[in-house]
Symmetry: C2
Subunit: 332 residues, 2 copies
C-alpha cells in the first residue's frame, strides 16, 4: 500500500541530514507520531470502576448484579467470547450464569427461557450470544429480551430510543468507541466525523452517537457526521476522510484507510478486525481497517488492532449490566 | 444574499450579446435552469393511486380504511393541519373521525382513548396532532399508539425498525422526500447526499433512508450521507454541499443554501418552511432553506416552497393509512 506520509517523512529526514538543519526545522512537530490509545488499559480502568461501584452496593447490603449469557450450539468463536464475558463478570463482582443450549433447541424453547428470565427479578442482564442457530429468527430472539435487561442493546426498542437520543442500552462496541473518544479527550463538537461502515450494530449506532443532539437525554456528540459504506466510491471516500477530524472505521477491509487519505492531527478509531497473512513471516495476524504504521505518522490519536476497541467491548458490557442493575434507564 | 451563479450567468449573457456568439457557446447547457419538481401534482397523483386502490378493496366488498385524528386544544395551526388531513381522507375514500378534546383533557384520559382505539379492529390508523397540551408527555402519547396503527411513525418502535432498515411506518415528511426522489428518478446509489438538520422527525429519518442498505427489508438508498446541523461551521457546510449530488434541507433557516454552495447538476429538496418579510413588498411570504432563484440556475432538480415537499406530507399520510389497513407491516 502506498504510504505517502511515511515516504515524505523519510525524504524530509534525508534532506535534513544533508543540510544539517535538524534543529531549525521543527521536524518533531510536523512528523509527530500519534498517541496510541491503550484500549486494554482503558478497559481495565472501566472494569475497576464497575468493580468498585458494585463493592459499594454490596457493602450497603445490596445483592450483586446478575447477568445471564445464553449460548445456543458449540460455535468455537462464540464459546471464546462467552468465556471472556463470564471472566469479566467474575472480575467485576457481577454474578453470572452461562446457559448453554444444544443446537437442537427450538426457537420456542429459547423464547420460553428468555421470557422466564425476563420475569425473574433477580436477573438484571440477559444476553444471547450471536449468531443464534440457523433455524432461529435472530431479530425475534433479540426483541424477546426485555428492553430493561437488554445489555447488548439489540432490542429494536433500545435502537429506537438511542436513535432519538433517549437514554437506552447502547451496544457495547459503539459504546466503547464513544468511551474511548470521551476519555481520550477527543473533541467532537463541531468537528467532522467520518464513519466507514453502516452495520446496524456498529457503524450506524456510532454515526448516531457522533452527531447526537445535546438537547435530548443523552450526551451531545454534535459532530458533522458522514456515513460511508461499500458503495462509497474510493475517490469519494478519500475526499471525506481527508476532511475528517475523527475517523471511525468498522468496515472489515484491511488497509482501507491509508496515510494519504487523512489529514494531520486526525483521531482514528479502528473497529475493524481482519485476519490477514503477514507478507514477511507467512503467519496469520490480526489487523484493523487502517494502515496503522502509515496513519500513525499523521494522526493525533489512533487505536491499535488488537488492543484498541476490542477490549473495550467486554468492559462496556459490564458497565451496561451495572446500568441494568441500577435501573437508571426508564424503558416503559 | 450573494447570488454568484446568477451574477455569473448575467455576465456571460452580456459577453455573449457583445460577441454575438450565442449559438456557438452552448450557453443553454451550461446555464440550464433546474426542473422544478411539482410537489402538488405528485401528491395529487399519490392520492389518486390511494383512491383507486381503496375503490378496488371496496368493490370486492371490503370496508374503507379508517383513520382517527385526535386534536387536543384549539391551536389554530393544528386545526388547519387536521382539516387538511380529514379533507384528503375524504378525497381518497378513507373514512375518518376528527376527535377534538378540550385542552383540559388529562394525559390519562387521552391515553385511555388511545388504548380504546388501539383495541378497536375497525380503526386502522391513529394520529395525535402535535404539539399536545403542555401538561402532557409527548413521547408517552406517541408511544401509546399501537405500532401497527402508528401512521405518523412517531412510536419509538417504528423509529427503531426503520433505523435498522426494517419495514415500518415512516413519518410522512421523510417518506414524502424519498417518494419525490424516487418518482423524479434522482439516483441515490453511490451518490453524495447532504442532509441539513438532524431533527428526529425529519432530518434524522431522511439521513437513515438515504444511506439505507438494500440487504435488509427496505428499499436501498445507498448514498454516502452527511448529516449537517446547527453546529456545522458555515465553511464546513459549504464544503459538504459543494460535493453533494443531493441536498435535503430541513433546517428552518432561510437562504441557508445559496448558489455558490452547490455544484452544477445537484438535486435539491427543500423541506424548510420559513415565514419572511419580502424586502420589496413588505408582505410576509413562505420560503424554504434554499435561495431558490439562485440555486435553480445550477441544480438539475429543485423543489419550490410552497408547493414542493409540503403537499406530499398529507398524501404520504394517506398512503400510510392504506398500508395500516392492508396490514402489510409486521410489528410483533
Amino acid at each position: 500500500m502506498a504510504n505517502l506520509a511515511k515516504r515524505a517523512f523519510l525524504e524530509i529526514r534525508k534532506e535534513i541530514s544533508q543540510l544539517n538543519l535538524t534543529r531549525k526545522m521543527g521536524v518533531t512537530a510536523r512528523c509527530h507520531a500519534a498517541k496510541i490509545i491503550d484500549g486494554k488499559a482503558m478497559a481495565q480502568k472501566i472494569k475497576e470502576e464497575v468493580k468498585d461501584e458494585i463493592k459499594g452496593f454490596k457493602s450497603k447490603g445490596g445483592r450483586a448484579p446478575f447477568l445471564c449469557v445464553i449460548q445456543v450450539g458449540e460455535d468455537p468463536a462464540s464459546t471464546t467470547y462467552v468465556k471472556n464475558k463470564i471472566k469479566a463478570a467474575q472480575y467485576t463482582g457481577i454474578e453470572s450464569e452461562n446457559i448453554r443450549l444444544p443446537s437442537s433447541t427450538t426457537q420456542n424453547q429459547l423464547l420460553d427461557l428468555i421470557h422466564l428470565l425476563n420475569a425473574n427479578n433477580d436477573v438484571d442482564g440477559i444476553l444471547v450470544q450471536l449468531p443464534v442457530a440457523a433455524h432461529m429468527n435472530e431479530k425475534k430472539i433479540c426483541n424477546a429480551v426485555a428492553p430493561n435487561k437488554d445489555v447488548d442493546g439489540f432490542n429494536v426498542l433500545n435502537v429506537g430510543k438511542f436513535c432519538v437520543d433517549e437514554l437506552a442500552f447502547i451496544p457495547a462496541t459503539p459504546a466503547g468507541v464513544m468511551e474511548i473518544i470521551r476519555r481520550t479527550g477527543i473533541e467532537t463538537f463541531g468537528k467532522n466525523a467520518v464513519v466507514c461502515g453502516r452495520s446496524k450494530n456498529v457503524g450506524m449506532p456510532i454515526a448516531m452517537l457522533l452527531h447526537a443532539d445535546g438537547i435530548y437525554e443523552t450526551k451531545a456528540g454534535d459532530a458533522t457526521t458522514t456515513i460511508c459504506h461499500r458503495y462509497t466510491p474510493p475517490d469519494k471516500l478519500a475526499l471525506f476522510t481527508k476532511t475528517a477530524d475523527i475517523i471511525v472505521t468498522a468496515a472489515g477491509v484491511p488497509n482501507l484507510i491509508t496515510a494519504d487519505m487523512v489529514k494531520e492531527g486526525v483521531a482514528v478509531i479502528d473497529v475493524g478486525i481482519n485476519r490477514v497473512q503477514d507478507a514477511r513471516t507467512g503467519k496469520t495476524k490480526l489487523v484493523g481497517d487502517v494502515d496503522f504504521e502509515g496513519v500513525r505518522q499523521k494522526a493525533s490519536y489512533i487505536t491499535p488492532v488488537p488492543g484498541g476497541v476490542g477490549p473495550m467491548t467486554v468492559a462496556m458490557l459490564m458497565k451496561n449490566t451495572l446500568i441494568a442493575y441500577k435501573k437508571v434507564i426508564k424503558l416503559d
